[in-house]
Amino acid sequence: MKDELPAIAMISDFFHPNVGGVENHIFMLSANLIRRGHKVIVITHSHSPDRVGVRWLLPGLKVYYIPFPTIASSATLPNYFTFLPYFRVIIAREHIHLIHAHASLSSLGQEAILHAHHLGVRTVFTDHSLFGFEDAASILTNKLLAAALKNVDAVICVSHTGRENTVLRGQLFEKSEDSSALVVRPNVYVIPNALVAEQFTPSTEPVSSETIYIVVLSRLAYRKGIDLLVATAPRICAAFPNVKFIVGGDGPKLNDLLQVRERHLLQDRMELLGPVRHRDVRDVLVRGSIFLNTSLTESFGIAILEAACAGLYVVSTRVGGVPEILPQDMISFARPEEDDLFRALSEAVAIVSKGQHDPVEAHQRVKNFYNWADVAERTEVVYDAVIKSEQKDLWTRMQRTMELGPFAGPIYTIILVVDCLFFLFLEWLMPRHDLDFVQMHWEHHNFVQLTKDAKIKDR
């Protein structure tokens, strides 16, 4: 039974030592899959100066750092072929059954989806972000995504809004069997992010009800709606003399905040913390009783969840996937307008000052909503469905790729065919029987059994 669990390779440009939502997601998902008995490795690009080669992370997670240079925001240049030699050797050595690519801007992930079928490896893709359809960058990246997802075996999105967006961007439609109408492919799943609730416990001592602290923790950038914060904060301070702000984060809009603080003489009422490390987030959160999120776009909003878990009442703009993540009585929504945000914040201050929001109860509720073990289990269902489905042959792949369009179709088909030739060349150059296969002496079920026995003995 245990032998049938697929071995999985997580592939993304975004991984530890960088920090962020995608990085954390990959790590937590891998750790929980390992706990369930899977073999999991991660493939990402190297980080100068010395994060290179193969490393092991704590729960037994092997990470391959491929020597690729990055261009911007830790993403590698999309070039379709250079990853194949590494990919082939790693996947063959590690006896991988399934690759799981993350993030639509990660070219390593997209490339892996292109190469996987040579080795008979199945593919799953998780999309973490929302994109528009208007600007040139979106149009280009959406086309790349559509090409990569044409032959992927399953797609996972982190929210229902994210799924709608990904379905449109990646053109994940298929002709239904009975009519010519287009229906969404059945292999598009929604599995939310989760959080480690134990890391975000509410403060044990009760928050003082005299002064109400509003916490903002975000990158100080336009997309995070800092303009709204700049406009609303002085009005809130003027309306409620017992309200203070704590703002954590760094970014291009920091100057605007400094200026508004100076202009309205709010030095003692608005505390700017600068960049906050992830391990300190909880300590900052529990100082306050209201969390304010002013993002203009958000696919899941993990920061909101962390704040709600730490017992804060949340006020957020109604954008992207945010309305899906918490029940109505734990969060107040505002339109992304100055007046409406002021209204929502005033209501939140009223709720909190009346003591209608219980931090401990909120923590317990969020703990029940999301946990990583659940996410891993649901992801396993996807893996299972993918492994059981039939793999597309090369001819079907080419035909599907040609459907991309009169220009993109032939280009990607050529890439697909050249990739096959390159693979055959590599098979000749570095024959598979010469490879150094990885021997796993680690038997996870024995380990689980041993720890269980040890626990029983302790009792």
Binding site: G132, E164, N165, G225, T297, T317, E324, P327, F369, D374
Partner: protein, 289 residues
Amino acid sequence: MSSTGWKKVLWERQPFPDNYIHPHSFLSSLRRNPNFKPYTYWPLVLLSCPITQHLATIFTFLAVFVRLKERWLDARVLLWVSIASFFGGYALCEILSYSNTVNGVPSRSKTIKSSLLVFLALMGLSPVLRTLTAATSSDSIWALSACLFLLNALLADYSTLKPAPHSQERLTSVLSMNAAISSSVVLASRLPDDLAVFSLVLFAVQLFALFPIMRHRLQVAPQVVQILFTLTLCVVSFVLTVPLSISVASIYAGILIAVTFVAPGVLVWAQKYKNEIRGPWDVAVPRLN
């Protein structure tokens, strides 16, 4: 499995598989072409008039240049035409600014001072300009000037919106004007004498620096005036080119007709392919007081 119990939430485990797609709520907030205002043909034709006018001025300039080069046109005639059109255009601008109370018209003394300055500077510089690119072969000059005129036509400011008073000119329109002036300077170096160079560059300044300003002012004039003005320019450029080369003249006519009548038609036709997708994933625009 009934589809009634499904909710669009993530915090609750629902008795549906993760790939379940609710038939009614999926993509229900998708909006296609929300602010779509279809263009109609004739207003577009009217809006294309500035482009036609600009192209016609380039064609006119080229015809005049060929005549000067082949000595079919006396440079003094061109000089007087330039001066006359300057005063004519200035008077027209004055009338337009009176009738429409456009702000930001510089005072008359200032205008006269700066125009005299340009006039004298050009006169002084014309011997230099004549020999400036004498060492360059004519073929390079033709290619260079063609490229520069293309740049000029591409970057010129065809917008109909009245610029706010004292607003800065857009960079592209400044670049466009510079391209045209450079082009005329390199062309002028092929001319035989200083007077011809002087009159051609002066003419170029009229056409490519001053005329666009007047064109902007004209856009508030009644439609009949605009149409007549466009038509006059087209006819002038055509009539000036016909004696030089019938084939070139017919190409000009083809371009002008294509820009004025065919291109708007293509745009109106292409609108049926417009597919703007809007939804909750778009970056919201914050509204501040």
